[in-house]
């Protein structure tokens, strides 16, 4: 029964609805910590999950995504809508350029605030 519950949980997670998931980007992992002074990393998040028929309201879909999902329900050759970021926010980075000049800059669309089916 425990194995069955585990299998059902895994299946459920695989079929989980489109939502935001945690992702911390550590700049040392990509070797950027040498020239990015601050921050050492940031919470970027990512989107993953199913966009099932019928699309729920909270999945933040466009009209096109709704129509596409409807068509998918009768013709599986047409893919379902994709779970993607729908709202993003900026972060500030303090870094050294190639001339060792210090720059504080605001970068758009770096953090996922919300996900939806598009």
């Amino acid at each position: 029964q425990a194995a069955l519950r585990k299998q059902r949980r895994k299946h459920h997670q695989h079929k989980a609805s489109c939502k935001r998931h945690a992702l911390y980007v550590d700049f040392s992992d990509v070797g950027w910590n040498e020239w990015i002074v601050a921050p050492p990393g940031y919470h970027a998040f990512y989107c993953q999950g199913e966009c099932p028929f019928p699309l729920a309201d909270h999945l933040n879909s466009t009209n096109h995504a709704i129509v596409q999902t409807l068509v998918n329900s009768v013709n599986s050759n047409i893919p379902r809508a994709c779970c993607v970021p729908t709202d993003l926010s900026p972060i500030s980075l303090l870094y050294l350029d190639e001339y060792e000049k210090v720059i504080l800059k605001n970068y758009q669309d770096m953090v996922v605030e919300g996900c939806g089916c598009r």
Binding site: E100, K105, N106, Q108
Partner: protein, 280 residues
């Protein structure tokens, strides 16, 4: 030893994945590398040396404005009001130290004059500079008494609570051979030498002209008038109050040398460095 922004591990994984021919893989990776460099306004991956200096003021600005940093960070005390207004509209803030090889110091009785040239060629053409401040540090003069709480900086009675200096900031707009540079006054301030602090001067008119191509960058001239004793003699030890020269204290020079800070916007996106924080 990395030479690109794309990590070597990622590059190798993609190349070895077999999804593309080696030539196409290299082409796609090259385009992606260019994309990353463009995103940061870089021409190549930065490889800062151990001597690279990050001014504390820039770190303070980051903490104050960062959408992802310490939101309780307060405005730096030495930040000029004009700078604070400029920062609210800017999405890019840059700092520059002057070219030491081009500085020219002269010290006459009662006055120290120092010319500074800041190389601003790293500012991209598409970045509009809306404001700039020149920050100069002044060290408390040893033996100067701390002024009472209600003392004003423009008091001329310096004998009881430290001397009063006048700092003038000029834009050099002409440099005729063998003659004094042609200069116009940008900002001026009376300061008391019993305090250690940064002074911020608004040099926006000059820097905006230089970066927009409407004027040639000949640099700034900082002129410090020192307090005089009766009889015209300069007070001992007062001339070192304003830090315009490395020779005064080499150890603290990297963090105490004059700093030019520019505030601008590159036209990408609407959020300023400050407004990004408010949105979150």
């Amino acid at each position: 030893g990395a030479t690109a922004l794309i990590p070597e591990v990622g590059r190798r994984k993609y190349s070895e994945s077999g999804k593309q021919t080696p030539e196409r893989s290299e082409s796609f990776l090259h385009d992606f590398e260019l994309r990353l460099l463009t995103m940061f306004g870089l021409r190549r991956r930065p490889t800062p040396s151990k001597q690279a200096v990050v001014p504390q003021y820039m770190v303070d600005l980051y903490r104050m404005h960062s959408a992802n940093g310490d939101h309780s960070a307060k405005r730096p005390k030495s930040m000029g009001r004009h700078a604070e207004r400029a920062a609210s509209k800017a999405n890019t803030i840059r700092s520059f130290h002057h070219e030491e090889s081009m500085e020219a110091l002269s010290r006459l009785k009662g006055k120290t004059t120092q010319q500074f040239f800041f190389n601003l060629t790293s500012i991209p053409d598409e970045e509009l500079i809306t404001s700039a401040e020149l920050r100069v540090y002044r060290d408390q003069v040893m033996g100067a008494a701390t002024p009472p709480p209600n003392a004003t900086t423009n008091s001329t009675n310096g004998s009881a609570a430290g001397g009063v200096h006048r700092i003038n900031i000029y834009e050099i707009f002409g440099a005729p051979q063998g003659r004094e540079p042609l200069a116009r006054l940008l900002d001026t301030r009376l300061v008391r030498d019993s305090l250690s602090r940064w002074e911020s001067f608004d040099v926006s008119p000059a820097v905006s002209q230089w970066t927009s191509g409407r004027g040639r960058n000949h640099g700034f001239m900082v002129e410090v008038h020192h307090p005089q004793e009766e009889g015209g003699e300069e007070r001992a030890g007062r001339s070192g109050h304003v830090r315009v020269s490395r020779s005064l204290d080499r150890d603290s020079w990297p963090q105490a040398r004059p700093l030019l800070v520019t505030y601008g916007h590159d036209g990408r996106g609407g959020d300023s460095v400050l407004h990004a924080r408010e949105k979150r």
